[in-house]
């Protein structure tokens, strides 16, 4: 099992969720985060004082996924979150050693 962590632009959340539903993903956790990569941020102005906003609002998605679905999930996210402009985000894939469904106590692939 794998854990997909995807940082995307906030307004892409609905598109990504729909794309993941279509390939059979049934659970997503979303958090509001701030971040930057090579996109530098922007300058804002308040009462004559300029300041650089380095950290831009993003949405972080965490999806626990079966190895079989991994590649189609990665493709779905990459396609739906893409705008072609800098700041589209990144996807991280890590090993997931255990998954448990709290209500029933199921574990492993059955809990996904």
């Amino acid at each position: 099992m794998k854990l997909i962590t995807a940082v995307i632009k906030p307004f892409k959340l609905d598109d990504v969720r729909e794309a993941l539903s279509e390939i059979g993903v049934t659970g997503i956790t979303a958090t509001e985060v701030k971040g930057f990569g090579r996109q530098k941020g922007h300058t804002e102005l308040y009462r004559g004082a300029e300041y650089v906003v380095d950290f831009l609002p993003k949405i972080k998605l965490e999806i626990a996924i079966d190895d079989e679905l991994l590649q189609s999930a990665l493709d779905a996210i990459t396609k739906s979150a893409n705008t072609g402009k800098i700041g589209d985000g990144k996807i991280f894939v890590s090993e997931l050693s255990e998954v448990i469904r709290i209500r029933t106590g199921e574990s492993g692939a059955a809990a996904l």
Binding site: E44, L45, Y46, R47, G48, A49, Y51
Partner: protein, 415 residues
């Protein structure tokens, strides 16, 4: 029949004082919302507490001693001290009729109209010292300001004291209210110091954006509405054709000046910074209102617009200049009410032939000197006794937690 008319006029003018006084009271909500919107979320509860508490302190102190200091009618034109609790008796119908209409309003309605002005003066201070002053130190200052500092200089002009005798002209208080409040704020800001991290050692100004622009805008509109009471009510009478027309003109000029201030500040900010700045635009509206407050009756509406517009330009420059002097004023109160208050006093001479620039400046200087010196002494004593500034950790965590133990937006992630 004539008696009925006299009584009716009395009732109308009393009603006028009461309703327009209520409009000025509503400005307390305006200040509260404006300030809440322009400070950071971690300072919001504290500033709201200050606003409602200072209003209440003003009401009590003015009732206990301030009103009689200001309107004692003593012979002294310099020192008007008369400790005398506000009574509850008022003019009787017989008195009013016997006066032939010279007594034309309820004594208590006059108190009511005046007390809301004290509160307005005091609330000017709360924005300038926001985010780093101890709550209770501020409230102690409020007791002194509303019970003593404001009433004494108020007496010198509106109570018939020496400034009035000298011909100093201030219709609704560009000097007595706005400059006075701003001066007390300036003394506080000087002694208090800037918010931590606001000015870097190499002279850069660090932006600390306000938490809630919609609330700040709402506050500005509320103040704008309240100002019709502030200026309109200061005509002090509405019950005949001449007075009614005067009140109408005052309303129109007040509105026009605010509009001029908005447009001028909006354009000035755009030219200076490259983009429209909402917070400057809001300050511009208030600057326009302050600018016309010294004389909203004699200008034409066009002149009032221009006077307000000049106020809107001045306020933007003043805000930037205060930052250059490292005088940290989170809401621009000193600029809106002080710098433009002075402009308002000067602008009187453009339409009021009875005023002279020399007397206006004299009045401004007297109000400034009295308020600054006594305020500075008061702030200093408070600092010695209980301190005026919160600790650095408390400031970083937010005065809402340290002074009030409460968050303004507990369900939102803050900082």
């Amino acid at each position: 029949m004539e008696n009925q008319v006299i009584e009716l006029a009395y009732a109308l003018d009393t009603f006028y004082f009461l309703v327009l006084g209520a409009f000025v009271m509503w400005m307390a909500a305006g200040f509260a919302m404006l300030e809440a919107g322009l400070v950071r979320s971690k300072s919001t509860v504290e500033i709201l507490t200050k606003n409602i508490a200072l209003y209440s302190i003003a009401c009590v102190m003015f009732m206990l001693m301030g009103y009689n200091i200001m309107y004692s009618g003593t012979d002294s034109t310099w020192w008007p001290f008369a400790l005398d609790l506000l009574g509850s008796t008022d003019n009787s119908a017989a008195d009013v009729i016997a006066s032939g209409g010279d007594t034309y309003y309820s004594a208590l309605s006059d108190f009511f109209f005046q007390v809301v002005f004290v509160a307005a003066t005091m609330s000017i201070v709360s924005g300038a010292v926001a985010e780093r002053m101890k709550l209770w130190s501020f409230l102690v200052f409020a007791v002194v300001m509303t019970g003593f500092i404001y009433p004494v200089q108020g007496f010198w002009k509106w109570g018939g004291g020496f400034l009035d005798a000298a011909g100093f002209s201030d219709f609704a208080g560009s000097g007595v209210v706005h400059m006075c409040g701003a001066t007390a704020a300036l003394a506080g800001v000087i002694l208090l110091g800037a918010r931590k991290g606001r000015y870097t050692p190499d002279g850069k100004v660090v932006a600390m954006p306000g938490a809630n622009m919609p609330i700040a805008t709402l506050g500005t509109f509320i103040l704008w509405l309240g100002w019709f009471g502030f200026n309109g009510g200061s005509e002090l009478m509405v019950s005949n054709v001449a007075e009614a027309n005067a009140v109408a003109l005052v309303f129109v000029n007040t509105n026009a000046a605010a509009a001029g201030g908005v447009i001028a500040a909006l354009l000035t900010a755009k030219l200076m910074f490259g983009k429209a700045d909402l917070s400057m635009t809001l300050n511009g509206a208030l600057a326009g209102l302050v600018a016309i407050t010294a004389e909203p009756l004699t200008p034409t509406p066009l002149l009032a617009t221009i006077i307000g517009a000049i106020g809107g330009i001045i306020v933007v420059f003043s805000i930037v200049t205060l930052d250059k002097f490292k005088l940290d004023d989170p809401v621009g109160a000193i600029s809106v009410h002080g710098t433009v208050g002075l402009w308002g006093l000067i602008a009187v001479v453009f339409s009021n032939g009875d005023a002279s620039i020399g007397t206006q400046l004299y009045g401004a200087l007297v109000i400034f000197a009295w308020t600054f010196i006594v305020s500075m002494i008061t702030w200093f004593i408070i600092k010695l006794v209980m301190g005026i500034r919160v600790s650095e950790e408390d400031e970083m965590e937010g005065v809402d937690i340290s002074e009030c133990g409460m968050e303004a937006y507990p369900e939102f992630v803050n900082k």
